[in-house]
């Protein structure tokens, strides 16, 4: 059974601006955010059937809710994130403590080598992809590749709206890839095309990419994705996936959605 790490949005809000989505003037409706988060959790637990591990929220760390950026996990190995921006660097210690408390073998990257966890490291069982340039340093991937003994193909993220790989790139359990091609340069698109055959590449349209259609959680044949992405939904249903659209617009104010709110542990 799949396990996901999550963190309740008790202190979630927009207290700084570190991506193009964040506007301090665009205040979060906290009650609504809490309702949406619990709705997502209910879908994950009851409809998809995953086990949720809950972290304790920390006052003053509004983005701790985005656990995809806790680090990268494979088996019993965990590499806690090193955030690019000082605003989120305060989260590092909490995520690392959590991994240690759970008994993971923790590998730490040298200070200054930024890497924002599963937000920038995604893949298929036989090969991973790493998003760089916006938040993670490409040099982190050669180290992670050694620690995890996995191939990691770096992909440059060229559109600041898609600042983490998981905002524009979602590998699915059947080997398909849900992605937004213009978020990558021609080298990245060619590298993706080299590994994933055309019939398995599902390109989402721009308007749905802007709703973070790619920020989806895929567990088996279930896909949990932000509500309001009908074209993406059709693409997925045509390949036999069961859709679970969840309204998450309060979190979009901060540049995050379903996938950002979870970290796959197994």
């Amino acid at each position: 059974m799949s396990r996901l790490l999550v963190c309740p949005p008790d202190y979630f809000g927009i207290e700084y601006e570190i991506n193009p989505w964040m506007r301090r003037s665009n205040a979060v409706n906290s009650d609504q955010a809490v309702r949406q988060w619990h709705h997502l959790m209910r879908v994950l637990e009851q409809d998809v059937g995953v086990v949720l591990e809950r972290m304790k929220p920390v006052p003053g760390l509004p983005d701790l809710v985005f656990t995809a950026n806790a680090g990268a996990v494979m088996g019993r190995k965990a590499v806690p994130s090193r955030f690019r921006y000082a605003e989120r660097q305060k989260e590092e210690a909490y995520f690392e403590d959590w991994f240690r408390a759970q008994g993971y073998d923790v590998f730490t990257l040298e200070e200054g080598l930024v890497f924002e966890g599963a937000g920038d490291l995604l893949g298929f069982p036989d090969g991973w992809f790493g998003g760089y340039r916006q938040r993670s340093d490409i040099r982190a991937f050669s180290i992670l590749s050694e620690w995890f003994t996995r191939e990691i193909l770096p992909l440059e993220l060229v559109d600041s709206r898609f600042y983490h790989l998981d905002t524009c790139f979602c590998p699915l359990s059947g080997g398909e890839l849900l992605y937004y091609p213009p978020a990558f340069d021609r080298y990245g698109q060619a590298a993706i095309a080299e590994r994933i055959t055309p019939e398995r590449r599902l390109a989402v349209p721009e308007d749905e990419a802007m709703k973070f259609a790619c920020n989806a959680v895929c567990v088996g044949k279930h896909v949990v994705l932000p509500a309001g992405c009908p074209h993406t939904g059709q693409l997925l249903e045509a390949r036999g996936y069961r859709l679970h659209p969840v309204p998450l617009d309060e979190f979009m104010k901060s540049g995050g959605s379903a996938k950002c709110l979870t970290l796959a542990l197994d």
């Binding site: 490409i138 050669s142 590749s145 050694e146 996995r150 193909l153 770096p154 080298y187 060619a190 590298a191």
Partner: protein, 414 residues
């Protein structure tokens, strides 16, 4: 010339991700060039690949822009250390493990900066001024106790010769020497260079001087008039020779013979073997070659042309010399130093009919200066060409034929 360079290392899954392709494309698109120093391609999907790339540019600014552009893609500048400096233990003695130069452009790293070694020449040491952050080659004999000399190889890099841009014989010869090759087009290309260099010389452009190092065979074989004309016409500006070339040149002027042979008729002249001694004695009596020319004692020939045109002459003596002539430097270390001092500003070197002077001059020349070695003995041009320069042309031919043909190309009418 592309002279600014830095080595970068890039590793990881750089092949299938096209990251390496992107980095190389970026270097080229921005106007730089690159060479692979080392490439390792992972044998499995999991195994990472690695490339060490030398990035070259025409300016330090462009280099810095390119490095700035490729660093986000993982190309990191190799951390280089400063070169190691050791004080010379005594006058005339390098410290152990001193770095011995090649004839290629060389840079040393001083306080995290690559500094060009001045006066590049093969088989010397490098002395560093740590205050002014400069580096210069220095011969073993000139080192002073306490001089800071580069030791080991760390923090030293040699810049490979770039293929010359001019599309003439110098860019194609690639150090080949052949007696069977037609000479006409080679001499034609040399003549074109001489015309370009003379124009530069007259405009006072640095690096426009032409050096000729030659032996007395030039005079014996009948190349004297052609060479004198080349000097008079300002195609040659520096002359390296020994005692014999000027002695026989002036012997022709005074007696009409060279080494006793009638210069025109070609017959042995009675007591002709004394002529070169009498010539040397005469010039010694006058006091100098220059005085002999200025006073009208010597009227024609190579030395007369040199004096009239103000050509820089270095005469290096040997143990078989008669006399020698005034001005011949008999201390060979001193002679070498005088030749070395005349090298800056040379844009082309003609090494004609003298093993001794050709090899000595070849050793003093940086690889960047095109050189032509002409000798009837193929061993001499071969030896010079083996220095590994793209711009060394070897011609197996008679000195006089070469000079006469070259002068004719340039308008000489015998």
């Amino acid at each position: 010339m592309m002279h600014d360079q830095e080595t970068v290392l890039i590793q990881g899954h750089i092949i299938d991700s096209l990251i390496l392709a992107k980095v190389l494309d970026t270097i080229l698109m921005m106007g730089g060039t690159f060479d692979f120093q080392e490439v390792h391609i992972g044998k499995t999907r999991e195994e990472p690949s690695r490339a060490r790339i030398i990035v070259r540019t025409s300016s330090a600014k462009l280099l810095s822009e390119i490095l700035h552009a490729i660093q986000p893609h993982g190309a990191s500048v190799e951390s280089e250390r400063d070169c190691r400096l050791t004080a010379a233990p005594a006058d005339g003695i390098f410290p152990d493990e001193f770095y011995a130069t090649t004839h290629l452009s060389t840079q040393v790293r001083l306080r995290d900066q690559w500094v060009e070694v001045e006066g590049i020449e093969m088989d010397l040491g490098v002395r560093v001024d740590p205050v002014g952050l400069t580096a210069r080659t220095i011969p073993m004999g000139q080192v002073k106790r306490g001089d800071l000399i580069v030791t080991g190889r760390e923090g030293v890099r040699v810049i490979p010769l770039q293929r010359p841009r001019d599309r003439d014989v110098f860019s194609f010869m690639e150090s080949q020497v052949s007696a069977e090759r037609p000479h006409g087009h080679i001499i034609g290309d040399i003549a074109k260079r001489l015309v370009q260099l003379r124009a530069g010389f007259r405009e006072g452009k640095v690096g426009s001087k032409v050096l000729l190092a030659g032996g007395p065979a030039i005079v014996h074989a009948g190349g004297r008039e052609a060479l004198a004309w080349l000097i008079e016409e300002e195609f040659i500006h520096v002359l390296f020779c020994g005692n014999a070339l000027p002695a026989h040149d002036m012997e022709v002027d005074l007696y009409g013979t060279s080494l006793g042979y009638g210069h025109v008729a070609g017959r042995v002249v009675p007591h002709g073997h004394e002529h070169h001694l009498r010539t040397i004695n005469r010039i010694r009596a006058v006091g100098s070659i220059e005085a002999a020319v200025r006073s009208g004692v010597i009227k024609t020939g190579i030395m007369a042309a040199c004096v009239r045109r103000g050509a820089h002459v270095v005469m290096a003596g040997t143990i078989r010399d008669d006399g020698p002539l005034p001005g011949v430097i008999t201390d060979s270390v001193e002679a070498q130093a005088s030749m070395r001092a005349a090298i800056p500003g040379i844009g082309l070197a003609l090494l004609v009919a003298s093993t001794l002077h050709a090899v000595a001059t070849g050793n003093l020349l940086p690889a960047t200066i095109p050189s032509v070695c002409v000798d009837v003995n193929p061993a001499v041009p071969t030896k010079l060409a083996d220095r590994g320069s793209f711009q060394a042309v070897g011609l197996v031919m008679d000195a006089a034929s070469f000079l006469r043909e070259l002068a004719r190309e340039l308008g000489w009418k015998p």
